[in-house]
């Protein structure tokens, strides 16, 4: 009798944990489903290549927002990838001291920075300085989010490179800096690339830090020092209006953005599945 009750509890608790997984997957499925259903009808060549039109006018698209997202993310990569990767190289190859461990810790903590705070920083640092919202300010905000991620993923992937590989190189009379630059980085590059791509996927969807840095623009990009439209901000702008027509545009924009990000995420995981045996 007692045993049966224990067995029953066991069954129930197992069933409940399985139910947790299923329930947690429901929102994901629902999001993917609704975004696809509501967005797909509005997607066509015009949507991907045209400028937005005022409310009520049919047609128009998010061409400039797509362009702007690539530009802003590009700026963020231009600033963030070198700093992130090279600081990661330092931490892994020269950072086994107090300073290195401290930097690594700080980078770790920075990965938890609320994204909107990065936006405020870029506002005070760049927007106030140039007295204008700009694509550049948006890129700075996103790079602040990107750098700690890239720093730490680079550090971790280079630390996985076996010491025997470094010794082999040093023993050939290759100086340490060339060993690091050409042998260690080369061996750990798949990890570095994975980290960079995941960081790019993450910042591509960020909205909050762009609201008051890159701001928005109804036209094509006309300079890095000018406000620029981006997909996430444009989706937000459309979503909170009362116009059904714009809601459809928001869904369609969401579909484009989600495809972009999921391709990055899933692609990365396939690429990293093929690991070199070391």
């Amino acid at each position: 009798m007692k045993w049966n009750k224990r067995k029953l509890t066991d069954r129930i608790m197992s069933g409940m944990s399985a139910a947790c997984v299923i329930i947690a997957i429901i929102p994901l499925v629902s999001i993917l489903y609704t975004v696809t259903i509501n967005g797909i009808s509005a997607i066509n060549l015009d949507f991907l290549t045209q400028l937005p039109r005022p409310v009520g006018e049919p047609g128009g698209g998010l061409g400039n927002a797509i362009q702007g997202t690539f530009i802003v993310v590009g700026i963020a990569c231009f600033i963030g990838l070198p700093i992130g990767i090279l600081s990661g190289v330092y931490l892994s190859e020269y950072g086994n001291n107090r300073f290195g461990r401290f930097v690594s810790f700080v980078a770790d903590i920075l990965t938890g920075t609320p994204s909107i705070v990065a936006g405020m920083f870029a506002y005070t640092f760049v927007v106030l300085y140039f007295k204008s919202f700009s694509a550049f300010a948006g890129g700075v905000a996103l790079s602040v989010l990107m750098i700690p991620i890239v720093t730490r993923t680079t550090e971790e992937s280079l630390k996985l490179v076996p010491g025997s590989i470094k010794e082999a190189s040093l023993a050939l009379g290759i100086p340490k800096w060339k060993t690091t630059l050409y042998i260690v980085i080369n061996t750990g590059k798949s990890g570095i690339i994975t980290g960079a791509l995941l960081a790019i996927a993450r910042i591509s969807g960020e909205t909050a830090p762009l609201l008051f840095t890159s701001f928005g623009n109804m036209f094509w990009a006309n300079g890095l020092d000018k406000p620029i439209s981006t997909m996430p901000v444009q989706i937000y702008t459309y979503a909170i209006t009362p116009f059904p027509d714009w809601h459809t545009k928001a869904w369609a924009g969401a579909l484009v953005l989600i495809v972009l990000i999921l391709v990055l995420n899933i692609g990365v995981r396939f690429v990293t599945r093929r690991k070199y045996a070391m």
Binding site: V21, D108, G112, T113, V117, I147, G205, E206, I258, R269
Partner: protein
């Protein structure tokens, strides 16, 4: 010979090795500079507000841009309550998920299930917010709120009218957003439990569940606690999705059905429009608070889960 020594001295001082180490070292210093600037800028630029309101900023409940009186209490309240609500919902689910994936699921299912759950973390916040406005909020208004007010309506928490955009909706959406991180770190904590811990219990004739309750969970508890704290950190810093569903009303209410406002939301909504210096400065002080709290939370969490935590690029802050 002297000459050779000198040229060697110069060569070694300016050797490729030293130059390279110095160069990458500068980038590492760059990371520290970013952290310093982040704090420094927010601290300096919020000076006006700190001077004007002092500690009263944290306890004042009036937020009035017209007469330039700024108290952040409604937003602090909204952030804390919505994040706490998110934890109340997300923690049991995350534990269930972590236990299922690490202990119960068939071997082949484990990796794909983890991947799917973590995929949720890759969806941009603004898209979750869009879904929240049009799917989740009406669902909660029509199917979740009525039974809550019918059966639990005696509690102040579930009283008053419910229009969809509410503290409850905000809490639910935050819960959805933090489940990936809390469950995956809890899972890693559970996976570090050594086999002999489990075998000890199993050998005593414990069932699977009893083993989990008696030896797995206690062993993994500090890691799980770290996961919860980290989830909390994510929740308080989350901006777009909450802003889109929480209703954005700076009134403190005891009911979860009422709209509310969070620290991150007020920044997102008002920063662009803020015209006066004091107004901007007050918003920056809210940002500084957010940053401080999230740094503290992250430090605590990292101490708890230090070894478990891998850096994940796919997550969302």
């Amino acid at each position: 010979m002297k000459d050779r020594k000198l040229s060697f001295f110069l060569k070694s001082k300016f050797s490729g090795d030293n130059i390279f180490e110095g160069a990458v070292g500068l980038f590492a210093i760059g990371v520290l500079i970013i952290a310093l600037l982040l704090f420094g800028e927010l601290y300096l630029e919020s000076g006006l507000s700190r001077n004007a309101f002092g500690f009263g900023f944290l306890t004042g409940s009036i937020w009035d841009p017209v007469s330039e009186v700024f108290g952040a209490l409604p937003f602090i309240f909204g952030t804390l309550v919505s994040s706490f609500l998110a934890l109340v919902i997300a923690v049991p689910f995350s534990l269930g998920i972590a236990i299922y994936i690490s202990e119960l699921a068939p071997g082949k299912l484990r990796a794909p299930l983890s991947f799917i759950i973590e995929l949720l973390a890759a969806i941009p916040s603004v898209i979750i917010g869009l879904w929240g406005i049009f799917i989740l909020a009406p669902f909660i208004r029509d199917y979740l709120a009525p039974p809550l007010s019918t059966y639990l309506g005696f509690l102040p928490l579930f009283q008053g009218p419910m229009y969809g955009l509410s503290m409850l909706t905000g809490g639910v959406i935050l819960a959805i957003m933090i489940i990936p991180i809390t469950s995956s770190i809890s899972k890693e904590a559970i996976q570090t439990v050594p086999i002999y811990q489990k075998e000890g219990a199993l050998a005593l004739g414990a069932t699977g569940w009893e083993t989990i309750r008696m030896s797995v969970l206690p062993y993994a508890r500090s890691g799980i606690f770290g996961a919860v704290i980290l989830g909390f950190g994510r929740a308080i810093g989350e901006t777009m999705a909450v802003t889109m569903v929480i209703g954005n009303s700076a009134r403190i209410s005891g009911s979860l059905f009422a709209p509310s406002y969070t620290m991150a939301s007020v920044i997102a909504n008002e920063f662009v429009e803020a015209t006066s210096k004091l107004y901007i400065s007050s918003l920056l002080e809210i940002g500084l608070l957010l940053l401080l709290v999230s740094v503290i939370i992250n430090i605590i969490a990292r101490i708890l889960v230090s070894k478990l935590l891998r850096v994940e690029g796919g997550g969302r802050a």
